[in-house]
Amino acid sequence: MPEPLLLLSDVHTHIGPYHILHGVDFSVPTGELTMLLGRNGAGKTTTLRTIMGLWQASSGRIRFDGRDITASATPDIAHAGIAYVPESMGIFTDLTVRENIVLAARSGPLDKTRLDWILGLFPALKRFWNLPAGNLSGGQKQMLAIARAIAEPRRLLLIDEPTKGLAPVMVRSMIEAFKALKASGETILLVEQNFYAASALGDNVVVMDDGRIVHAGAMSDLVADTALQQRLLGLSLDAHQ
């Protein structure tokens, strides 16, 4: 079995005096879409930030593509091929939509076909192309954040709750987009609260609680097992979506 694209082993993270992650272990297989689920405050965002080097793991190992990136600086991690969509979206509100996307395309001018594809997914961005991004609606900002992450091909996308604030029709769009990205060979690690979206997309699922991994496996198994859903996520599927 080939080494997974991303591998976390026994990662602990402290923020100031607080111990947030208590030994996180999981892997993201190449070319697949892995969902990271868990209640509020479980540590999902902290996990993504730790991978991205925005918070330093206090112990444990993070390997990406065969390289140890545990102690690497954030820009180096980005250069290794990881794109990140933070929970708060990280939009540069003073810059226009165009400038936001231009910055994301690190290697130079944007590829026209890719840009057309992205703007096709999110037509609103086209409309507000030269508007300061701060003026976008909540959902439009979310779209821009995703668009930025996929402006150029990357090896791995880390995406924190992309569907929050999106209208159902946009959620569908988004799901299509992730499917297309996956098809083009990209690997995705997605944090999601929307179990409907999660179940429609995920190949694998990792569930966190209280800074630990409490479940990891195939998505199909979790979808099939409502009792497990209830235990892990406190969710009864029929009540939501």
Partner: protein
Amino acid sequence: MSDLTTDAAAPAELPRAKSDWLPLLLIPALALLALPFVGSPSTWVTLTVAGLAMGMMIFLMASGLTLVFGLMDIINFGHGVFISLGAYATLLVLGPLAGWATADSVGLNLALLLLCILAAMAVTGVAGAVFERVIVRPVYGSHLKQILVTMGGLIVTEQLIHAIWGASPIPIPLPQSLRGAFVLGDIVMERYRVVAVVIGLAVFIGMQLLLNRTRIGLLIRAGVENPEMVEALGYRIRRLFVSVFIAGSALAGLGGVMWAFYRQTLTAGMGMEVMVLVFIVIIIGGLGSVGGCFVGSILVALVANYVGFIEPKLALISNILVMALVLIWRPQGLFPVARR
């Protein structure tokens, strides 16, 4: 840095940004408005040319600050001392090459000026790097601490200038061929001001190109708002910040040289003396807009000249007056950066 003109690659139907030319019209409008009040056309031309040139010099001194302040959101109260430091750095050149100043050759004279500028930019650039590293880095994000710490740096540097070059004012010679004025009928144009115009324009155009044709400007503005995200996009924002700070300091050094030759006397406090003016210009321009700083500098200098001629009593407050009027018209300055 790579080319930013991605609109070329983008689908044609994408909307384009509108440019805002209105503030540029202010300058000719102001000049025309002043003409009837000044009366004599020859005086008017003299005042206008002198004002334009003074504006360029102010711009040279302010441009570095607007860069650092506007792009990196750092208030460098120590900027003034970089102006002084640049001015004093000319002594490194003027000492050994004193002959070039009195030489009767325009070439040598200009070469001397150029060498002074290079020396000053080198000295202030290095000083800027030290400043950034030792003083400013730990206080990114907190304006107040920046003010205090850079003020501390200012005092220390000013004292070091005293320690190195002494406390007495030092006269410096303006190279021979840059002295005096061109006289055309009743119109006089100081030669040195013509030089200032040339250098000011060159720097302005250079900065515009750098900021608008490359993504540096964007990156820095983005980095100020959310440095984490810029790093997550794969840019080393720290390195960029340091370079900008160095560039800003070097520009202050350049401004310092120009100012030094204008005053023909060096004092450690010479940079601090112009700081209120520099701040006013930057505010008028719209914090961080190089174009705004340029227009603002010229406006302030022109108004000072016209007012000084028409009603000298008001000259005292002409700067503040200009600022107030501009802010009433555009509360964020002429070219608010956020709206660019």
